[in-house]
């Protein structure tokens, strides 16, 4: 059952990421910055929701790590776009990511206790898997600026750690 939800979540996000790729196979740096920043902000919001709702220490520790790490990388991203004089550009991929995350947040808001913990962590697995796929296959190869590309690569290493951590927790919560 859990597996089904994870797969469904990942599929929804894949669909969410697809439109911009179809419309423009290569997002520009201003769009890439916007997508990466949005993805981070959404995971910070998910972490804050978990900190407000969960009583499980392992889940709370994970959520704190998500808030801390994603805020750190987003602070760096903001400083970088300012330095490069790039204005992050909203785009269909960012909008779709936000719509999917808003929907998930509403679903999670209705859950409590272990049911919330399982659903939150399952979504974190799916979310990081999807964002990491987008970083690896689309955003990093498309990025033109070397500093942006380097930050995205660090982000991919970081988020891969998050994905592994979430997968470990998901197995533990079964």
């Amino acid at each position: 059952m859990l597996k089904f939800f994870m797969t469904a979540g990942a599929a929804a996000l894949l669909v969410a990421i697809a439109p911009a790729q179809a419309a423009d196979a290569k997002p520009n740096d201003a769009q890439i910055a916007h997508i990466a920043y949005t993805a981070g902000t959404l995971d910070v919001a998910a972490g804050k929701q978990a900190l407000a709702k969960s009583h499980d220490k392992a889940v709370r520790d994970f959520a704190s790590e998500m808030v801390r790490d994603h805020e750190a990388v987003n602070d760096k991203a903001l400083a970088l776009v300012k330095k490069l004089n790039v204005t992050p550009q909203d785009n269909p991929t960012s909008a779709a990511l936000k719509a999917a995350a808003d929907k998930k947040r509403d679903e999670l808001a209705k859950l409590d206790g272990p049911a919330f913990d399982k659903a939150y962590i399952a979504n974190e697995v799916a979310y990081h898997r999807t964002v990491n796929g987008a970083l690896r296959d689309t955003l990093i190869p498309s990025a033109q600026n070397a500093e942006l590309k380097a930050l995205l690569k660090t982000g991919l290493t970081l988020f891969s750690e998050h994905q592994a951590h979430a997968e470990h927790l998901a197995a533990h919560l079964k």
Partner: protein, 106 residues
């Protein structure tokens, strides 16, 4: 210039054990971009590891055997004094893919 030279010599003296190998040395391990930097090849009991976190993220240097657990907020440093010989596996407890092994001899 002389001051600089003196400072450089003093620094080398501080981090390099004398040829007799009796005095303890301090070895710097830099953490950046989600990785522990190069680990010193030769470590002796009594030596100190200075963990320097230059990354954006909070990390830790945590021994698998529990002998040390150094919290390293972004931009901060911490030290570990090596108390026993052997191979000591360690990792970042927040990002366990970041890991290494310290090889310590007597």
């Amino acid at each position: 210039m002389n001051h600089l030279r003196f400072a450089a010599l003093a620094f080398v003296a501080a981090v390099t054990p004398p040829s007799g190998g009796l005095a303890a040395a301090t070895h710097v391990v830099v953490i950046d971009r989600m990785k522990f930097g190069t680990l010193p090849a030769k470590l002796h009991v009594g030596d100190t590891i200075s963990w320097v976190n230059r990354d954006l993220f909070r990390h830790s240097a945590t021994a698998r055997d529990g002998s040390f657990d150094i919290d390293l907020p972004a931009g901060k440093s911490g030290t570990t004094v090596l108390r026993k010989p052997g191979a000591i596996a360690f990792a970042c407890k927040y990002h366990p893919g970041m890991r290494g092994v310290l090889h310590v001899v007597k």
